[in-house]
Symmetry: D2
Subunit: 376 residues, 4 copies
């Protein structure tokens, strides 16, 4: 049996495009396309009586927005948002909270050259095959523009978490072959945002920026790794079998465009250690329990143990190049696809607030699940 | 605010232990404890009229069973299973299919020494804190014994997938610091099972076995990495946003005991490549489309593209040592925990069928979701 | 223990208001408040490549809209809708399809008198107690205005069902004590809409209209019963245990504002029959199987049997009266609540398209679940 | 288009039989067939540290068991249960709690006559058509034997609810045309169980028993109505839109075998009242708020209001008759089906504990959802 796709053979099939929701008790559903009227998110399960700071939501959207620096795409979106439901005078009512971010700077004709061709390592081919219809204008639903909705919803989640003292900070750990040295420093958002690549080590950051500028000038792209820390997370979040906290974090991160890998704590490096080195000894100081190392990354048996949650997220180099590439078209013919449009030479600086947003939503969802408590 | 756990303070809380299900249309719910009467799984959504081969289920259980070789735990479980529901004469009816695996060789007194102490990097502490009650006998629900249920359900899924020509093979890629060289060979289960460590490269396998024997004799443990391939997967599985195929695979793998990392395709290594190297060019041969490289690992835009699905799963070294370790007890006092009981010096040889089972269930679930087709 | 509400005692609690979604494969999430910017719905799971007729959606919205006749509320909403996502040139792409219906004719000051008082048999008291915050302007989320979103989503579902030949017609069976005589006639939408009360029996309709006018002039209200028929439904929809087709229809109908009862087939009357009268004999004509009576209402063992699905839905008299009523205020004091605002004297004429919409969404969801077929 | 079933045409389709779960946070999955090894249920989400009384579970199973009196089926099942997981010394651990009830008194040959014929108003025809395979022995999964699992899980839920002071009592309100007069009395389980028909009005009960004996001697059957009360339910259970408390209760009840209708509060009768009669005035006594009537049935706006929850559940007459009936066979030929086997002449006396169990599970699920509270 040959499973390589025979073009035309599935054109009459129609498959619903579901799976646009995440979370159980804090549950988001996102909608909207890159070149439609806008991008939105409905949050079902947001606690009521939370006084939201719209500026803090806008701040996170601005950290993700295109056009923010010389090393990002030059598409110019202000990403100004509005509430469509769920608040009165910026206080949540508990009703579904909807955030709407209109699109402004679409250039749909930039995509005419791929109307009948598939860009390598994009979703053009798989979408066309699965749905028999494809929104070529900016990739429609597959566009990273969808992540604006994630950042907006995550910014709401963060405000709820902040009331509980839980804090989330991510930063760029590596770009291409350039990596930060290991550090125990507790970086703040100000540290991270002190430069345009969002690596808190200034020296390394400068190298990263230079490397990104180099590939940009070549019409090429780079990948990288983001480290995310969740601090002050209480003991007890996560379910013990299939909904382990790091499994849920992993799924959330792997669902971000271009993500190819996820690690908790020691991750792949930890596989090269002996158990006696890797185990995190417990110690008690007046009944206050902590571990003296944190190879577990803050999660044991799928449940948070009160230490910092530490995870790493791998992003491949952006697929859209300003170079010609070999590919095929919708007629199944070999073609050359030109490099065109406005795109990021490296996605990781803009992905930092996305990673934080995903972490915030998973943690809040599990905090709500944790609160589903039943004292007799 | 201090989120380190203050012992005793949450003893009166009661939290349900949910999250024992996985999948949407092919949905499993597992139950049972390490030292209870047995381990079971209900499959809701198994297609009817599938003639099951019980020997093939038993075969996979035997690949996972303890006591199978000199480098695994010596707990002796035959893991003979029975159907409690869902079949008539081994043919599925579509009704919930329940598989029950009685426990035989429990030694609950092996756990008396941890009744009041927390083993480092185990779930003892997080379970005790979250639930206020803990099944100390073998870890109860946190025991890797739960994975027998996964393997049984996965063995059912594989038989359905086999009817569709889809084939899944995993193997041990590294143990500690010993890794297989890269290879394009399409390993068969026979290749993998030709030795007790389940690494298909015989020379490397011998080194791995020797390394495991060394740590075993030290009372120590090793981790490792498993690579999993799904072959002949049709184009179109996976949902485009939150339920991307690799995000669902990632969650499933990260939910396995001791798993700390997951990669699809190029993974973390891919972050060090340029886009022009990393992109997988499409090529067409008479309308049959494939890519000439597979850094994508068979998934693009969250949807399978017809190439082999390739993922890697990282397992930490086993936490249970035959050595004394520093820890704390349930009274919040510093104590030394002895090394006792029967445990694996390295979990990866037995984890191979578990990884395959998780892959099988995710792929079948998405195959069923894919089939929810709606031709007008 | 006394479970009557002690006012003030739960003010500090915050509960998320979830449960704004319905369906599994055709899944809607609604949002928006009566006096916010508008009402919306996201459909996740709409099949792609369906050419939608916007006029048909608008038509159903107009059948539900306030101000449509002399026997409905005089709030004047055109209920003009727009697509926010999911279509290109009115063809569905399979992406989340979002419909937005802006509010136009709010009169929020009509609600000042209930800012601190609870209207009897409304949700004022239960919302205030549960959430500690309440959108007094039109009832916020509890307003029947939410049903506009249901009708819009249902109108999409109907267009998909029409491609499969499935047709849904509901009508007003009784208003107060005035009932239609039993009839086997297959009423069309034109029959139903031939008068403003939507009872296809012209004589009875005239009586109903007169009765509604009478209570309206009294500042009082009436309830009624709607019968809904689904025609040409294939055999096999519905799941056999908890998701029986009529259980899902029942939940959907009971979730409509003011609904207090649901029957399938013979319903409560059937409890007074003997089995030998009630059973529906099968008969075959050239291999085409049908039943000679339909007390089952088209569902047997929770699964559609190919006969017309027939259900009945009970609506209580509208709670908002133009009369003063005894009640309590938010301080727990006994008060008199005045009758104010613009409201329906009888909800059933406008509920007909809502009942049809709920039926359409449940049937389509199960049609998609049915299509999740797995031929080996 | 003709949707009547053409026999043979769908034999090659295979549909998974899903939908065997109910609830979100207190979630049950049932499994097992009438004539397989037994019936079971996994409860995922049972709170830990609850000391269960096994006798109370057995007591409810005995109230449902066949053979309990002269007016029920004479199949003799002790319905003795065992815990397969989730408890240590009868205390819940929070892990999935599995209850297993072995079958004892199957007589599979009683079903040989329907191997190739469809019993009228049974699920034989719809199952055969949907799944292409059917467990003829006792109806397999469609058998009311599945309700034993509901009663067992409900008995666990009731013990948790009892700790919260919540109490559930149901009783037989009517059998055929014989109904209890309206009464405000708060019946206890002892009142209900004082006679074999479970109607607490002794005079009416005697008439009901006599009527059932009459139809039994005729080989015929009767239906009836059960009223269910939930007392001391706190204010605030239920979600405001699709998961309204009475919508969830309705779905749960309608999923019981033979159930054809559901009402909350005034139900269908309430449609004949005016709003001014039907509204329930609030009154306050020292800040304790209640309503002076209860047409709402304890639920307003989908949320419990602290008054007794009152609902009514309609059961059709049992389909299995000891009479010959006209039907068709699997070849699509007209045939006569004989009356054979052991069956209930009226299901309502045994359905009382089932109705209570469904109510208990819905209420507990919503109590857990309610507890998912988030104080900032």
């Amino acid at each position: 049996m040959n499973h390589y796709f025979i073009l035309h053979s599935r054109r009459n099939k129609q498959l619903p495009m579901a799976g646009n929701s995440l979370g159980q008790l804090f549950r988001i559903t996102t909608f909207g396309e890159s070149h439609g009227p806008g991008i939105g998110v409905v949050i079902d399960g947001c606690p009521p009586q939370v006084s939201l700071d719209p500026a803090a939501i806008q701040h996170q959207l601005s950290r993700r927005r295109p056009g923010q620096s010389t090393i990002t795409t030059q598409r110019d979106e202000s990403d100004a948002f509005e509430f469509l439901s769920g608040v009165i005078d910026n206080v949540t009512t508990g009703a579904p909270l909807t955030i709407w971010i209109p699109n402004k700077d679409q250039r749909s004709k930039d995509y005419d050259h791929i109307r009948k061709a598939f860009r390598p390592s994009h979703s053009d081919y798989t979408y066309q095959t699965k749905y028999g219809i494809r929104d070529v204008r900016g990739g429609g639903r597959s566009s990273a523009r969808e992540t604006a909705a994630r950042v907006a919803a995550g910014a709401v989640a963060r405000q709820v978490l902040n009331h509980h003292g839980i804090d989330i900070v991510a930063y760029v750990d590596s770009v291409g072959t350039i990596s930060m040295p290991p550090s125990d420093k507790k970086w703040s958002e100000a540290d991270v945002d002190s430069n345009i690549v969002r690596c808190p080590d200034e020296t390394v950051a400068a190298e990263m920026i230079s490397a990104i500028e180099d590939v940009r000038d070549d019409g090429d792209t780079l990948g990288g790794v983001i480290t995310c820390n969740v601090r002050n997370c209480p003991v007890g979040l996560g379910e013990p079998v299939y909904d382990k906290l790091h499994a849920e974090l992993g799924k959330a991160m792997l669902s971000i465009n271009a993500c190819k890998g996820f690690e908790i704590g020691s991750g792949f490096d930890g596989t090269r250690m002996r158990g006696s080195e890797h185990n995190d000894p417990f110690t008690s100081n007046g009944g206050v329990i902590r571990t003296t190392s944190n190879h577990s990354g803050g999660v044991q048996g799928g449940i948070s143990n009160g230490m910092d949650i530490v995870c790493r997220v791998a992003f491949k180099p952006v697929s859209t190049l300003m170079k010609s590439q070999e590919s095929v078209n919708t007629e199944g013919e070999n073609v050359t696809v030109e490099g065109k449009g406005r795109h990021d030479p490296c996605v990781v600086p803009r992905a930092v607030p996305i990673v934080e947003a995903m972490a915030a939503m998973v943690i809040l969802d599990h905090l709500l699940r944790y609160r589903a408590t039943m004292p007799v």
